[in-house]
Amino acid sequence: MTAVTIPEGMPQYGDVPRFDVERVRADFPILGREVYGEKLVYLDSANTSQKPQQVIEAMALHYAYHNANVARSVHALGAEATAAYDNARAKVAAFINAPSANEVIFTKNATEALNIVANSIGGQLKPGDEVVISEMEHHSNIVPWQLICERTGATLRWFGLTEHGRLDESNLDELVNERTKIVSLVHTSNILGTINATARITARVREVGALLMLDCSQTVPHRGFDVVDYDVDFIAFTGHKMLGPTGIGVLWGREELLNAMPPFLGGGSMIETVKMTGTTYAKAPARFEAGTPPIAEAVGLGAAVDYLNSIGMEAIAWHEKELTAYALDALSTVEGLKIYGPKVPVGRGATISFTLGQIHPHDVGQVLDSLGVQVRVGHHCAKPACDRFGVPALTRASFYLYTTTAEIDALVRGLDQAKRMFS
């Protein structure tokens, strides 16, 4: 197929890391099932990913043979469960290149991770201070900041978006200024698919002495993330979008920042000592992990990290890039279809949102569902992004390591059927 010969010594097409998608699919029991007698076509991984047998088994084994509470028992099971929990933390830390496993805080989800920072750092804001977000945030990176700004009198500001669905950085120097205390941005948009280039923003944040948080919920599962390389202060992501279970998310932060921050939730495990007259707090990560943590979920997340590593994040990222290029092409053949977000497979992830003529996304989703094709419809918890483009709702197809081009073809066929039905 390749007509162009690449000179020797240059990277060749064959150098791209590959994996066998069919073999990967065989690890996911759910991908073998049918819905309404149709083959399941799961195109909703940005919502939640499916789970490989390895993750399901790791959690089942934990419950079957190693279950106990962590960090408080002297007995054998307690020690095994604690070791398993700590081991999962170490795996996650290595996965994002965290300098220390103490910087990895297990939360309920990415939303809780964002809320910890908003409340702990944000709680110290004063009138005149500014927080900067963007118009493409998930509600979980908008509402916590709105709440904290209401409470403290700080001002919430945001980056606008360009027509192509990228961050409008034209007013960066004015927007991020000496009054800015924290900038919290989505790294990969869950609705537009945009991967934000952060270098200029990071440089400006450092210049004014603010903090930078990135919501990496849609990045870590698909291409990994290196917290040192990106020079950020905090990131949030979630387990269930990266082959792991629901009920566990991650807040990563610089250790010295975490240990200087006031706790968010109080309770057991997060203390140093408690007296009726006052309490001193443990250091991170325990500082932010009040109560019994999601132990089996951590074990599942650790297994998910192992699984992703066994395939290789570079190979996964490349697979998704090819799928995205294929899907952008295929969708452009559907008359009346309009894509919101970048229309080239560069600087974007494998999530594509669109409208189909005047047909409401609910109706599109329902027709697709009847054919076994599972997509998400609605505002995707990103209403401001919808408002920015003047649409109440979008249909979203999102891909992952187990997605195939045949599934994208099924999507396109389903869209044609929706058009026939509603035109």
């Binding site: 996304p361 609910h362 109706d363 329902q366 027709v367 609605g378 505002h379 109440p392 039905m421 509603f422």
Partner: protein, 146 residues
């Protein structure tokens, strides 16, 4: 899945040719309802004369189910007494809450019996009810004022 159970011809017909759409004066009350899970919206006005519903006008954005349901509501309820309209309303709400187990009475519900299939799709029941809940709210507001 039997898509045609959900998208009956009556529903598609009302969707493509909505009855009574557009906001009109005069009106006794106006309400704005949203479906927070999907972002669909309806603005609905009601005009009463004595105990009679003389007009229901509406504008909004939403899926075929929500739009068709507003159109059917207009056809079915305008011209009736408030008591009759509320009786039909109750029958429609009951049908939607019936998980597909209720056989609708065509004498009471007219075209709205086409929504019987919608009741089997929990995710779509709220779409069908959006304008109906807005109407109930609007009538209640008129009655509060008087």
């Amino acid at each position: 899945m039997q898509l045609d159970q959900l998208y009956q011809d009556i529903i598609l017909d009302h969707y493509k040719h909505p009855q009574g759409r557009g906001l009109r004066d005069p009106f006794a009350a106006e309400v704005h309802h949203v479906n927070p899970t999907c972002g669909d919206e309806v603005t609905l006005r009601v005009q009463l004369e004595g105990d009679r519903v003389v007009d229901v006008s509406y504008e909004g954005q939403g899926c075929s189910i929500s739009q068709a349901s507003a159109s059917v509501l207009y056809e079915l309820l305008v011209g009736r007494s408030v008591a009759e309209a509320m009786a039909v309303h109750a029958a429609f709400v009951e049908l939607m809450g019936g998980k597909g187990q209720i056989t609708p009475d065509e004498d009471v519900l007219g075209d709205a019996i086409a929504f019987a299939g919608v009741a089997k799709y929990p995710a779509r029941v709220k779409c069908a009810l959006l304008s109906w809940m807005a109407l109930k709210d609007a009538v209640a507001r008129v009655e509060e004022k008087s």
